[in-house]
């Protein structure tokens, strides 16, 4: 069913009950007053907007009119304010590239005997800098 009530007009869109669940998962927290709950929910919305806008502005996704995961992990790594996210937004490497890297390492270890393969120029030599996980 379509939602006609302009959700953007509501004071806060994130459900307070869910925010409360997350807050209460912290063992050291005993109780949360209603104002604190509201503020945390509102702050989280501001945070989502800030993270999205910042990542879009500073990322390469916008070359294709998109916000990508890479933009976000880049932000976590480069911007001090967002560094607390670095662990959950790690840089990524394509599985196919990783497998090729493994294959190359294996082949480098093998004794070559004029094999054609060894003489071919291989793509794996290309380093895709920012994709490599640290």
């Amino acid at each position: 069913a379509a939602r006609l009530s302009g959700a953007e007009n509501r004071l806060v869109s994130l459900p307070l009950s869910r925010i409360r669940v997350i807050m209460k998962s912290s063992p050291e927290v005993s109780s949360i007053n209603q104002d604190a709950l509201f503020l945390t929910a509102k702050a989280t919305e501001l945070f989502v907007q800030y993270l999205a806008a910042y990542s879009y502005k500073h990322g390469r996704g916008k070359e294709k009119n998109a916000l990508t995961y890479s933009d976000l992990s880049h932000t976590a790594e480069e911007c001090e304010t967002f560094q607390f996210l670095a662990d959950i937004l790690p840089k990524k490497i394509l599985a196919s590239k990783y497998l090729k890297m493994l294959e190359k390492e294996k082949r480098d270890g093998e004794v070559g005997e004029g094999d054609e393969e060894d003489e071919e120029e291989e793509d794996e030599d290309e380093t895709v800098g920012e994709d490599v996980g640290s």
Binding site: L14, P15, D35, L67
Partner: protein, 143 residues
């Protein structure tokens, strides 16, 4: 989808809407990006809560209050949020006050038995409403 009360995730549809509000029209947000932002938001809540709790402890209080959360924002280097948060808080407090007074009027008209019942439910009302809205959000099709 089964609903788990211990779910530490925020509703996808709401997160998506908030993201779109922050970006120029027509920007495509990948599912992966949206999911990552949602996780980041949950981590933010945990971090903010922990930080706010430190201020409560300093003040020898067991209940987190508004100033604890605002202090946490400064500490986390999100000072830019403080102004807008204070404004929103004022509106919220007015709303809550209005609601409370409306309920008091309703109570006065009811039986004394019914009065006790609605006072108990008062605290659960907001949560219930929020949960209903949550359910609606999760029923939306994820694109």
């Amino acid at each position: 989808m089964a609903e788990r009360p211990e779910d530490l995730n925020l509703p996808n549809a709401v997160i998506t809407r908030i993201i779109k509000e922050a970006l120029p029209d027509g920007v495509n947000v990948s599912k992966e990006a949206r999911s990552a932002i949602s996780r980041a938001a949950s981590v933010f809540v945990l971090y903010a809560t922990s930080c706010a709790n430190n201020f409560a402890v300093k003040g020898k209080r067991k209940t987190l209050n508004a100033s604890d959360v605002l202090s946490a924002m400064e500490e986390m280097e999100f000072q830019r949020f403080v102004g807008p948060l204070k404004e929103s808080l004022e509106v919220y407090r007015r709303d809550q006050k209005g609601k409370k007074e409306a309920r008091k009027d309703k109570d006065k008209k009811a039986d004394s038995e019914e009065q006790d019942k609605s006072r108990e439910e008062e605290n659960d009302d907001d949560d219930e409403r929020m949960e209903e809205e949550e359910q609606n959000d999760e029923e939306e099709v994820d694109n």
